[in-house]
């Protein structure tokens, strides 16, 4: 019976060359200079980080750029312990939705600077709304990891 349940391994690896377009290119160039740039909608006044070309609500182009503080608050977070194929970071690590000051949306990034050995203590340190600030990578490549992570502000 066992021989009727054969499986075969088949890995698919495909190469990509993604075009960033002007807006995202400018956003990443900003990170290289340790600046976080958002775009602002002239109609509803909302500021978005990462920068978008157009306002998702109003559907109009956003031409106004705003530099925002690399500080904000944690909207929500989770501790990742599971392993899966193609993970960028070795678990355990914290992924969070962070909203920077002066912006109107959250975005994902890592939170570090917390001892994960004692989960109860970690939960105390990192409550919803906790203030965090960006830590820059030494080597910049104009990508999202130019911010290496966010850490709690005392």
């Amino acid at each position: 019976m066992a021989k009727e349940y054969r499986t075969i391994r088949n890995d698919v690896a495909l190469p990509y060359q993604w075009a960033l377009g002007k807006t995202w290119a400018k956003f990443f160039d900003g990170l290289k200079e340790e600046k976080i740039l958002g775009t602002k909608c002239s109609q509803c006044g909302k500021v978005f980080v990462p920068a978008r070309t157009f306002c998702p609500e109003c559907f109009i182009d956003m031409a106004e750029w705003v530099e925002v503080k690399p500080e904000g608050k944690v909207l929500t977070w989770t501790l990742v312990r599971a392993k899966y194929y193609g993970q960028v970071k070795e678990p355990p690590y914290i992924v969070a939705t962070i909203q920077l000051e002066g912006t109107d949306c959250g975005f994902h990034h890592f939170i570090g600077g917390i001892d994960l050995a004692d989960f109860k203590k970690a939960r105390q340190k990192l409550k919803r709304g906790a203030k965090v600030k960006a830590v820059w990578s030494v080597e910049k490549k104009a990508e999202i990891y130019d911010i290496s992570q966010f850490v709690p502000i005392k």
Binding site: E4, I8, N10, D11, V12, P15, W18
Partner: protein, 155 residues
């Protein structure tokens, strides 16, 4: 727009798969190890299909009956592939062909080889639509479709 503004990010996505063959296809490969090409016959339309299916695509009925088909057949169509593309499994140049083995009722895809493939004009003299080919087995069997190494033209 200057070139500078056309920022491109290079990346790769790798995804691993482990696919189940199911009973019919597992058995097909077991038969290949014994150098037998087996098809399955539909009890309703009586067509014999290679590769075997677990059900007849037209009648939607289970196909239970195994039938050994000939190792020789006719070339229904073929193409000489000499252009490279990513993730090609066979080195170019190679011939991809649709072959219908005697005693079966469908064509299937495999390759024609066993001849000098370097000169296309010479290839065209040997490989013809409607021509006959026969299976050549790989010495080492791995339980995949290349256990049939290729089909070679028969006089």
């Amino acid at each position: 727009m200057t070139r500078e503004e056309h920022r491109i990010v290079k990346g790769q996505v790798m995804v691993p798969y482990e696919l189940a063959l199911g009973r019919t296809w597992s058995n097909f490969y077991d038969y290949l190890k014994e150098e037998k090409i087996m098809g399955k016959k539909c009890r309703k339309c009586e067509r014999v299909l290679v590769p075997p299916r677990s059900f007849c695509p037209r009648c939607f009925e289970d196909m239970d009956e195994w039938v050994e088909v000939s190792q020789e057949g006719v070339v229904e169509t073929w193409v000489y592939v000499n252009m490279p593309f990513f993730a090609q499994e066979i080195k170019i140049p190679f011939i991809s062909a649709q072959i219908r083995l005697d005693r079966s009722d469908s064509g299937f895809i495999h390759q024609i080889a066993g001849i000098d493939l370097s000169d296309f004009d010479r290839v065209r003299e040997t490989v013809k639509l409607g021509g006959r080919v026969k299976a050549v087995w790989s010495k080492e069997k791995k339980g995949n479709i290349l256990d049939i190494a290729y089909f070679e033209p028969v006089k």
